[in-house]
Amino acid sequence: MMTELVATTPGLYPLPDWAKDELAELKGHQKGDLIGGDEGPEITDAYDRARTEAVDAQVDAGLDRVVEGQLRWDDMLAHPLTINDAVETGGIVRYYDNNNFYRDPQVRGELTPSGDVGAELDAVGADGDLQAVLPGPYSLADLATDEHYGDDADFLDAVADLLAGEIDAFPAHETLFLLEPSLVEAPPDDDTAARASEAIDRVAAATDADVVAHTYWGAVPEKPYAHLMDTDVDAIGFDFVADADASLYNINEYGTKDQIAMGLVDGQNTLVESPETVRDRVEWVDERTHTDFERAYLTSNTELFYLPVNKFEAKLEALGDAAALAEVDA
């Protein structure tokens, strides 16, 4: 196998348990207490210490890309909107099909970049292996309520421009993961799918890094997948945990990019996959596709904040070890 294996994750990590307690104490438990992007020095300090742990855990696990951990993202993938000045936060709403909730971002004015995510990445201070993480424009628009633009297409464009503007403030990074679970959970119709792909290109054009459009909680339906293939992203990410067969079908029926992201480790179950199991899953995909991938990102299918900290760390180890194991075998 000639494929370069790159161990990484889609980010959005659980807070260390001490930080759960400390930040709950500093911030409070109510919805008005969540991150607004203007937190004071004590809270900033706690997140700085937690971020250092998150980075160290990835380095210790031997991951090939290091994410910031998105520990401040109280509203999960909606974060880039909920901290934006043009957005008011409404009630607590369900986060996809999970027992998790986020504040409904209600967009009330013209969206302009905040620099919030760029500042987080600056704080990592990592070397060349930095991986940025953002919601994809289609998912971010799907998670939000538009009270300003009044037209779905205009709103999607505005969200894409916002994300591109945030990327302008990013430090140098090797890879950008755009998380697009809404392509699976709330798939677009044909016209919207074309626009969603254009929006992804608009975001991807803002960086020189390799861009991965990562999808999960199943496979993207055929038509939106075909549109996703029209984008200029470097890789599409697949959830081989939730639906390996449908993912494989998309790849073999519509093709995929020269690079691929394989969601092989379950981000929502405490059962820890062994490195051998992860490697077997890489081979399973490799044997059933007809592409010689230049590079395969080995990752968890979903974000990792669903897990208790000990299992989260064990999953990082499994991914790092799996990439190392497979390289030795190659």
Binding site: P14, L15, D17, K20, L23, A24, K27, G28, H29, Q30, K31, D33, L34, D74, I92, R94, Y95, D97, N99, N100, F101, Y102, Q268, N269, T270, L271, F305, Y306, L307, P308, V309, N310, K311
Partner: protein, 354 residues
Amino acid sequence: MSENNRAQFRPDDHPNDHFLLTSIVGSYPKPKWLNRVSDLADDPDSKFDEDHLHEAHDDACRAIVDEHERAGLDTVSDGEMRRNEMVEFFADRIDGYEFNGPVKVWGHNYFDKPSVVDDVEYDESWLVDEFEFTQSAAAKPVKVPITGPYTLASWSFNEAYDDDAELSYALADLVNEEIEALVEAGACYIQIDEPALATTPDDHAIVGECLERIVAGVPDEVRIGLHVCYGDYSRIYPELLEYPIDEFDVELCNGDYEQIDVFTDPEFTTDLALGVVDVHTTEVETVEEIKENIREGFKVVPPENLTVSPDCGVKLLPREVAYQKIENMVTATREIEAELDAGEIDLGPEVSAD
């Protein structure tokens, strides 16, 4: 089943001919001192130990049972004084579960979500001690809430079973075992709580199969209720009429009874336990408002098939608000019964008593 087993809850000194069973859903606010001493018992430097905490739980149980009886409820509980959380409490008592640490629900609200790492097995009893103590403290019949197997499965990490349905069925068999032990100890009113069904209503058939397993071998005179929190009830109706239960308990006050018509077509054929006070607002409903809410129930069932309860567990309300709501609820119920006796309430042709 339901025709016979509600009469046992009618008090000997019941003032009216009509009888609408009044009940609670389960949890009740813990006295502040109980939360304080629970923290103390966790503190290794404190002289307050587990025995002291047990005594405090007994005291709290007596206080809440007394509060329920003073409010005039026909069936009472200990307000779940001994339970910390509705999944953790049971997972802690079932072999096959382990805890790895807290996970996020939202913001800085966490839950010690357990993992099923092996076949689940029944070991120690979960609730018999709690029930026996409550019964000894109560003059009225005691209702026992149990977290349902579908919720116990859905709100856990499943490492050991092929899917959540298989895990749910295995847990349902354990719930059945626990109910047998409770019945042996004298329990006559069991409520299965399945809040997870409200968020994934398409799984109603799994819950149905669980209930079949839960009631297997349970005598008809034991009243079995099912509580499902607020959700889109049209997605589980009329399928829920097939469930082997005596009573279906709904949270409708919260949504201002917008969904009441869901239960009128086809005809509702089990007993309805209707939430008539909102547990998400601290504003105490007046007796008149609650009477209006009770009348909503007559759109679905005749008086002899109506149970009156709060929307859900009341534990998040201030204690005095919870008490006032329950007391007003009982007063409203007794007034409605008297009006029914006097023929002052027009039930409409479709649900009037035979």
